[in-house]
Amino acid sequence: MRNILRNMNELFQYPSAIVGSLVVLLLVAVSIYAVIAIPYQTAIDLWRGGEETWYRNPKNAMPAWTNFFRTKKLPDTLDFNTATQPNLKTVKPSTLGNSFSITIPFDFTYDAFPPELSVFFTAKYTSKLPFVSLSWKTPDGRTIRMKNFSITASQSYRITQDDALQAKLGGLPVNQALFAAPGVAGGPAPNPPQVLKGRYVLQIDGVTFQKGDDINAEFISYGDLYGLAGTDNLRRDLMVALLWGTPVALAFGLLAAVGTTFTQMFIAAVSTWFGGIVDTLIQRVTEVNLVLPFLPILIMIGTFYSRSIWTILTAVILLSIFGAGIKTFRAVFMQTKESPYIEAARAYGAGSMRIITSYLIPRVIPLLIPEFVVLIPSFVFLEASLAVLGLGDPTLPTWGKIIDDAYTNGALFQGWYYWVLEPSALLMVTGLAFSMLGFAFDRIFNPRLRGQ
């Protein structure tokens, strides 16, 4: 043990090791943060969540910071809620109930049209439904009447999906028609449509028919951007999945790597030490197992049995135990077995178990560590690959799951590159970090590879 600790300062002579360990520490820190900031159950619920959880987010929005690199600024999401901003609403009592005037002014100075516009009404009423009337004022003084309708307790008006409005506005898609610059001096409108920048007002006039009835409205002009990581097609904030994917990836990789390497080491030691039929048996089992198709078996288990991450983890470990590592460890043990100190130990009466645990295995641990470190990313990739194949745990937000969702929804066709790039980048960084660390360890523990 002391040997290993002494080698640690040697580790930091290698720049690759420093970078690798820093990144690994960063990943561990992110994992800890993710688990604390978003507890497990919350994460599951969030990720499963539907419209109610995520309705405020735009669909398939890119990360907000990408605007920094753009000349043509894409719009942000603008959210106005009378429940939280009561100043937008004026209430006047009228004959039967109240009359409401909700005036939402906002400045729109972006270079592109907002993809979606919606108004969400919540109303409190006793028997008669309240009635609302919406109109739109452009910066150049035009007023466009939008729609009149009654609302229930919870009513959504998706402006951009209003075909009648589209027809009324001359066939252009609603989000463009409401924001486009008209032709100059009565001439034709510019083609392609340009955004008219300036102050717009959404006017909602409503009436209630009984005392005590109330109307609240939330107007959302969805942007093309959201947050640090963007959103997916279900409006979910990808940061949740990216953050939570970290501890899942690391834990899976670590547990699988630990389970596999240590078990393999022990089996190889027993196999080499006892030799004879024990050795033959273990080696043949290993060879058969090496030939078995790893991925198809996992796919079968995932399809017919369970896709829970614990099932997959157990299956992966069981299938990996009699793997190539046994051959590597066996080669080292065969050599060590012939050492004079092993012979001496037999001569002073050491039994087989003692020799295996106290004399053979400690000799091999320094060689085990680099192998083990480099093995972690391969299990991380395995988990991601399984998810991309559709075998991931359906409830857990993992990096592989993000890629899977992206593919299923044609992300690359639609130009939503960030959806695929973000988890892939994280996978790559994890792989690189562990590999660099592992190679540095290898140089220390296997001095022959050391350059002079």
Binding site: N3, S339, P340, Y341, E343, A344, A345, R346, A347, Y348, G349, A350, G351, R354, S358, Y359, P362, R363
Partner: protein, 350 residues
């Protein structure tokens, strides 16, 4: 061809096949017609012959006696030692220790036997686990074979380390093997061999990997321990010049057999076997005149142990070979003088 002639005059007495006369003390170890063969397998399956590593060895070792076993590589001396240490099983023949056949011992008895035989190996660094401190290295035999408390173990370790003159004990114990010099490492190995109060020590080339100036020191230490503890010691070596300082009797081995047994001074002055003669001629003393002469030694190399030569195994290289005798029949042991036997037809009855 001016070979040193073997003085045959007083050796041409009638040869008889006898055992060595019993010495003062009891017989501690008795080797009887021991044969140790290793099976050769082709491709791990089919049988391809045997390596006759030890092929008919008999001798008695008494309590407190120091003997040397001398021979070149491949003669079987290491295999013989490892069989005595119960690391190999005899193919035929017996190894009898304190009256009991070790091949018939089961686990507990075998463990007790191993505690009575200490082992010193050639490579002192290789004989210790590099990841263990000296304290751990020395504690292992005690942990395995006794139920002594920690305090008792530490006391014993201190006692033995003092005897091998590795002091101050407190400084030595926490070190790792690579921090000690070759001589110090070998002292630790000797200490470990002494740890369980053995009756017999097997020392397989204990000083050949050490520097010249240290060798004698270690050999003297061993000799001192042998005398003070009345230990039987088998000193295995290929270097004849060291045996004088160490052993009372010498056995010379060649190709799996013991070809000569004698008291040390008798062997050095009047070798009875041509191979012994060759070994003596081949061993140099520091003398500037050596550069002026060529050594007269038999050509060739030790034979294959898989298909050894018929008759006397040395006959293909022997300058005194007698046709139709040495190449046909295996010579028995002839008695030359008291406690001096040689397996060579030169001493046959006339």
């Amino acid at each position: 061809m001016s070979a040193a002639q073997v003085d045959h005059t007083d050796l041409k007495k009638p040869g008889k096949l006898v055992e060595m006369e019993a010495s003062q003390d009891n017989v501690l170890l008795s080797i009887q017609d021991l044969q140790v063969w290793f099976e050769l397998r082709r491709f791990g399956f089919s049988h391809a012959g045997y390596v006759h590593a030890v092929d008919g060895v008999s001798f008695d070792l008494h309590d407190g006696e120091a003997i040397a076993v001398v021979g070149e590589s491949g003669c079987g001396k290491s295999t013989l030692m490892k069989t005595i240490l119960a690391l190999y099983r005899p193919t035929r023949g017996k190894v009898i220790f304190e009256g009991r056949n070790i091949s018939e011992m089961r686990r507990e008895d075998l463990r007790a036997y191993r505690a009575k035989v200490g082992y010193i190996q050639q490579d002192p660094y290789g004989a210790m686990a590099p990841f263990m401190t000296i304290e751990q290295v020395l504690e292992e035999p005690l942990l395995i074979n006794t139920h002594a408390s920690r305090r008792e173990r530490m006391e014993r370790i201190e006692q033995v380390l003092t005897e091998v003159k590795l002091t101050p004990v407190g400084e030595v114990l926490p070190k790792f093997p690579h921090m000690l010099s070759g001589g110090q490492q070998q002292r630790v190995i000797i200490a470990r061999a002494m740890m369980l109060n053995p009756k017999l020590i097997v020392a397989d080339e204990p000083v050949s990997m050490l520097d010249a100036s240290v060798r004698v020191e270690i050999l003297k230490l061993l000799r001192g321990l042998q005398e003070s503890h009345h230990l039987a010691v088998i000193y295995v070596t290929h270097d004849l010049s060291t045996v004088r300082y160490f052993s009372r009797r010498i056995f010379v081995m060649y190709a799996g057999n013991v070809v000569e047994k004698a008291l040390t001074q008798d062997l050095l002055l009047r070798p009875g076997h041509p191979y012994t003669e060759a070994l003596l001629a081949g061993t140099s003393d520091p003398d500037a005149n050596n550069a002026k002469t060529y050594k007269e030694i038999p050509p060739g190399e030790p034979p294959s142990l898989i298909t050894p030569p018929a008759g006397c195994r040395f006959h293909p290289r022997c300058p005194y070979m007698i046709k139709d005798l040495c190449d046909v029949e295996v010579p028995p042991e002839f008695k030359l003088e008291s406690e001096h036997l040689a397996a060579c037809w030169l001493h046959r009855e006339r």
